[in-house]
């Protein structure tokens, strides 16, 4: 059921352990360290052969649960729903790719959405997830704005700056390192605010690397080796953003980032600072921030159970 990943193949001269790694979405600068680890042979050094795969929509975590992938990227907020149910998905968060939540709301410059208060009377593109709605409501209420006066429309946007420029919507949730930078590249003047700046409880972990429990318990050394290589890759990306960006473009087997060089490089310049940030080392999951967010979910009746202190571990990270 675990596939052939746990079985070392002895036939080849060098023994490689095959790892399937499920990304959260198409390759972007959140993933640079991983592609660097692959491109620069860090995985190989650890005896790993890693394949990056794309998940079904919103399905990375499940692919890891099912054992089709040993590791996957997801986020703390969406993970809550899996943790909260009565089914054991058998996955645990083992590493934070970014230390802080870099997401926030982007809007057209001049519309006055420089902070949540500005959302009143405006149009917001939503995925209608309960946590998302609760967060928007919370940040608006922090500034005494009325959430009911926010007009909601479905989020079908792929090109955020263009959508803003065409006035399809007024406000969109984006990760600054990609969507925000893209607005600069496309020369659309935008305003942006981070959720974490309005309410620190929203400085949760996203994106996060998850591992399959069964695999990790029977292969702790491989898990550690995997994270070691990742860490090395991200550390390289921190030191050499330009070079790392080129590696990302080159290593993406689909060539989908070709022609987006400028975006990748600009994004990389910004996001490289976020990989480790104020943490002692890359990947560390700050339990206080993790627990604080889950407690908030429970207090606001967004989960049935108090999920604090569950779902993560730092034990596979190297010091």
């Amino acid at each position: 059921k675990m596939g052939n990943a746990s079985k070392n193949e002895n036939k080849e001269k060098k023994e490689f352990t095959k790892i399937t790694f499920c990304l959260d979405w198409t390759p972007n600068t959140n993933h640079t360290g991983l592609f660097v680890a692959k491109g620069k042979g860090y995985f190989e050094e650890e005896g790993l052969e890693v394949e990056f795969v794309q998940p079904p929509e919103d399905g990375a975590l499940l692919m890891c649960s099912s054992g089709q992938a040993q590791f996957a990227i997801d986020a703390q907020d969406t993970f809550a729903a899996a943790l909260d149910g009565d089914k054991d998905y058998g996955v645990t968060a083992i590493s934070a790719i970014l230390q802080h939540n870099t997401s926030g709301i982007i809007s057209r410059k001049g519309d006055g959405i420089v902070s949540p208060a500005g959302l009143e009377g405006k149009t917001y593109s939503t995925w209608e997830s309960p946590i998302e709605m609760a967060m928007i409501k919370n940040v608006m209420e922090e500034e005494n704005a009325d959430f009911d006066k926010l007009k909601l429309i479905p989020n079908t946007i792929t090109d955020e700056p263009a959508a803003l420029a065409a006035k399809q919507t007024d406000a969109i949730w984006v990760f600054y390192g990609w969507g925000g930078i893209n607005a600069d590249i496309e020369k659309v003047d935008c305003d942006f605010f981070f959720f974490r700046d309005i309410n620190p409880v929203f400085d949760y972990c996203t994106p996060v690397i998850f591992g399959n429990n069964e695999f990790m318990e029977s292969n702790p050394e491989i898990t550690k080796a995997f994270l070691r290589a990742c860490k090395k890759g991200y550390e390289y990306a921190v030191e050499n953003p330009d070079d790392a960006a080129d590696i990302l473009i080159k290593e993406d087997s689909t060539n989908s980032l070709q022609g987006a060089d400028k975006l990748v490089h600009e994004s990389q310049k910004w996001i490289s600072k976020e990989y480790i940030s104020d943490a002692k080392s890359w990947g560390y999951i700050d339990s206080s921030r993790w627990d604080r967010f889950y407690k908030w979910l429970y207090d606001n009746k967004l989960t049935k159970n108090n999920l604090s202190k569950t779902g993560y571990t730092n034990e596979y990270l190297s010091e």
Partner: protein
Amino acid sequence: MTKKLQNITDKLPPLIALLGFVLIWQLVCFFKIVPSFMLPSPIEVVLAIINDFSTLLHHGKVSLIETLAGLLLGIILAFVMATVMDRFVVLDKAFYPLIIVSQTIPTIAIAPILVLWMGFGMAPKITLVVITTFFPITVGLLEGYKSVDKDSLNLLKAMGADNLQIFYHLKFPRAMPYFFAGLKISASYAVVGAVVSEWLGGFEGLGVYMTRVKKAYSFDKMFAVIIVIVIISLLLMKLVKEIGKMSMPWLNLAKNENVNQK
């Protein structure tokens, strides 16, 4: 064999097959051959349908309205296209290849573009249903029109009938069985078309609900939605069949009414 008995022996095999299928499904879940988060058991799914009934009804209604509107417009479009193409051979030659091309474009690729163009209301959903449904009906009607034999045409011409009369008294009735055959195929795709387009952008409808429960890791609810979609599709196909029967009484004459000795 009496009629009633015939009815039972006709309906027994599919019922047994269905029950067998559900039983195997339940056993697979019971013996955890597939982990429960990957495949909810039939019982869980039925419970999900019961618990979610009003929500499913609400979203189902939205999807059904889109489906019916799309199907209706698809029928109208198909009727106009097929009739015009049958009348003017050049247009047939010109547009038939384009129509085929339209069917090879993946709907999940155009659905987001339609939403981009038409907004979040029902318009893009209905449009997608039209795109997926007009084709089988058009093809059916064209084939039906072409099935009219020369002799019948000559008969009406000999009576002095004009093109409109020939269409009304001969071509259209002859094309009806083909029309309904096409419509049945369209009906089976229509609901799925609506759901896919909702899936890719909207506030209401089974497609939207499906993405939502999927994000919440509620596979039992997701399967409940699938079952609702299947049921709506089957009912729609049944409806088309019944309307077809009613509209074409000459095809369903009971054997005992038959005066013909042969």
